[in-house]
């Protein structure tokens, strides 16, 4: 087995009186897609933000390619090679699509912004994600939810990351765009990147993930190979009970589902 490119151990984080993360461990190998699953409020986004340097954890270690590192600011994570797509999209509403895509990594020529080059590259990038935009020069505030999401995804892929964190990337996407993003995740894996994918969509998870790590109420609640584990088992781990609304609903509507 290859050495994990990113390894977390004993990560805890509390907000005031709420213990959002409690001694969480997680590792991702190069060329591996790890799905991070859990109920609403389980702490998935909090964990992603700790790795990305948006909030730093209260305690715990982060190992990067085996070495202990400190990630205190988003810039630290980016320098290591961690690209992140946040659940709350984190775009600058007043800037246009091109400016958002290249925010913080603008191309310059002779000290001035090279708008031509950036616009050309943006066009190429968005073409590959099959989403229709009214124009590359509208402020992102006027875009639809899915359009914004696609920009955020495209943004994260501009650099040369080694690990990609995706926090519910397909939640707002249409079927075609979702398919494109799943393709993309597979391409990332094939290029040897480590991918952490947060998603509530079991179909997507089963399609691209190699392993599923489950969080429940801020704690680790299991680590499964996706191939070997049944849908019901994973859902039981997420909800913490085998008798849950999903299974109840499934038993009622089994006959109806296509």
């Amino acid at each position: 087995m290859s050495r994990p490119v990113l390894e977390l151990s004993g990560i805890s984080k509390s907000f005031g009186a709420v213990q959002a993360l409690n001694q969480v461990d997680l590792a991702v190998d190069p060329g591996e897609v790890v799905a991070l699953l859990g109920d609403n409020g389980a702490g998935k986004s909090t964990l992603v933000k700790v790795i990305a340097g948006v909030n730093s954890g209260d305690s715990g270690d982060i190992l990067w390619e085996g070495k202990r590192v400190e990630i205190n600011r988003p810039a630290d994570a980016q320098r290591l090679g961690i690209a992140t797509i946040y659940q709350d999209l984190a775009l600058c509403d007043n800037l246009d699509i091109v400016a958002n895509l290249f925010l913080g990594v603008e191309k310059t020529a002779f000290g001035a912004l090279d708008e031509v080059d950036m616009e050309r590259r943006a066009t190429e990038l968005l073409d590959s994600l099959s989403v229709k935009m009214p124009s590359l020069r509208v402020p992102v505030a006027s875009l639809s939810g899915g359009q914004r999401q696609i920009i955020a995804i495209a943004r994260a892929l501009l650099g040369e990351p080694k690990v990609v964190l995706l926090d519910e990337p397909t939640a707002a996407l249409g079927v075609a765009q979702t398919a494109q993003v799943l393709d993309l995740i597979e391409r990332l894996r094939d290029r040897g990147l480590g991918v952490i994918l947060v998603s509530h969509n079991m179909a997507d998870v089963r399609a691209v993930a190699d392993r599923a790590a489950v969080l429940r109420l801020g704690r680790n609640a299991g680590d499964f190979g996706v191939e070997e584990t049944s849908y019901e088992e994973i859902v039981a781990a997420i909800t913490g009970a085998s008798d849950n609304p999903v299974s109840r609903r499934a038993s009622v509507t089994r006959t109806e589902e296509a």
Partner: protein, 423 residues
């Protein structure tokens, strides 16, 4: 000329590339007809840019000229350009801060304190005047760094930091000028020269030609490159229209000013700073960062931008520009006093930025606001004094113009604001 924000380029680049664009959007711009259509659409869509202010300025000029025949005389216009330079520089600084979505209430006090430093060093201590100018500018810079640090690192709201600055630096001004109250400076040294130097006609024409020429060359070159990269570019027609729209006021001003004493150095300094800040805001990474922080500080932080550094630098620049404004005020009146920049300067500086079209909510605006807004307010003051109107009237008219300018802007933007965020 002035562009609202990095996004207002909108239609230029809308079609004509390989990009999978929305077929609902129909924009071409190669014939005069389609150019007109695009302009009409902009007007209907509320994207008027600086147009309403320019129209307003022209109206104001016409009204005052009708009421007093000397209003548009070269002498009055020459005075006007020198009168607005000091507060204009302060406005340029305020615009930077407004772009961040913050406010700087200390610009007047900082200008006053820097003016006091200038006069004390140049006259009482007796160091060379150019060194005193540098020291006064540095004073502004340091004050700004202090403000920015308190805001960015400690987290005190900018309103409070600069409110404290408004009080504190005025205290410093009082302390420095102390007992005398007023210090006269030489009327022939470098400080006085800043606002009392006028260039020979040839020089004025030269500067105008260089400025317009540079604009044409860079635009042509840039659009050539766009076209080569397969992106939508401006048509030669549009480039020509824009060039003429720039050339007419530039050469016109030079012509008029040459009829009196010539192009004032103060105007060149002011316009120079405005152009430099405009280029910095629109064409550099730093400017992009300022807009990004103004539009969404958390998003900018997550994009790896050092938000604290951007904030501190913006406050530093703003206070430095205030200091420069203070120096210009001293230069104009040959003296620094307890009243230097302690009166309407703060209010007028902010009002000019807003009239020029810079938003109070961050992330939208441009450096040209300083010039446009400054000209509007300067023209009003100048005209009312020509007509010998009293202070209450001037206050009320200024308030009214401020309201009208912003109301126009608000109404034209109404539809866009109502549903700001899609999804």
């Amino acid at each position: 000329m002035a562009q609202q924000t990095p996004v207002s380029n909108s239609d230029e680049t809308a079609t004509g590339t390989a990009f999978d664009r929305d077929p609902r959007l129909m924009v071409t711009r190669t014939s005069p007809a389609s150019l007109l259509a695009a302009i009409k659409r902009r007007i209907r869509g509320g994207e008027l840019g600086p147009l309403p202010v320019i129209v307003g300025l022209i109206l104001i000029c016409i009204v005052f000229q009708l009421m007093h025949e000397r209003f548009l005389s070269p002498q009055n216009l020459s005075n006007l350009t020198v009168q607005i330079a000091g507060v204009g520089l302060m406005t340029t600084g305020v615009i930077m801060v407004l772009l961040l979505g913050e406010i700087d209430l200390s610009i007047g006090s900082v200008a006053g304190a820097s003016a006091a430093v200038l006069a004390v060093l140049a006259v009482r201590v007796g160091i060379p005047e150019w060194a005193a100018i540098a020291a006064a500018a540095a004073t502004g810079l340091i004050i700004g760094i202090l403000h920015g640090t308190l805001f960015a690192k400690v987290g005190v709201p900018a309103f409070v930091v600069t409110l404290a600055g408004l009080l504190g630096w005025q205290g410093v001004q009082l302390q420095l000028l102390g007992s005398d109250g007023t210090i006269n400076i030489s009327d022939s040294g470098p400080i006085a020269a800043l606002t009392h130097t006028f260039f020979v006609p040839a020089f004025g024409w030269g500067i105008a030609a260089v400025a317009v020429g540079a604009f044409v060359v860079f635009t042509l070159f840039g659009e050539r490159r766009r076209a080569a990269a397969g992106l939508m570019a401006m048509s030669p027609l549009e480039i020509a229209v824009r060039s003429i729209a720039l050339a007419v006021p530039v050469f016109g001003s030079v012509y008029i000013l040459n009829q009196y004493k010539g192009l004032p150095l103060a105007l060149i300094i002011f316009v120079g700073f405005v152009v430099a800040f405009d280029l910095m805001l629109r064409k550099t990474r730093y400017g992009r960062m300022v807009f990004a922080v103004g539009g969404g500080a958390e998003a900018a932080r997550r994009a790896g931008i050092n938000v604290d550094r951007v904030r501190i630098s913006v406050f530093a620049l703003a206070s430095m520009l205030s200091a420069l404004g203070g120096i210009m005020l001293v230069s104009r009146s040959f003296s620094a006093s307890l009243d230097t920049a302690a009166g309407e300067e703060l209010m007028m500086g902010i009002a000019a930025a807003v009239i020029g079209g810079t938003s109070l909510f961050g992330g939208r605006g441009n450096a040209y606001s300083a010039l446009l807004g400054g000209l509007v307010l300067g023209a009003i003051t100048s005209g009312l004094y020509l007509l010998q109107m009293g202070t209450p009237v001037r206050f009320m008219i200024t308030a009214l113009v401020l309201l009208i300018a912003v109301t126009l802007d608000a109404m034209s933007r109404r539809s866009r604001r109502a549903h700001a965020r899609g999804g």
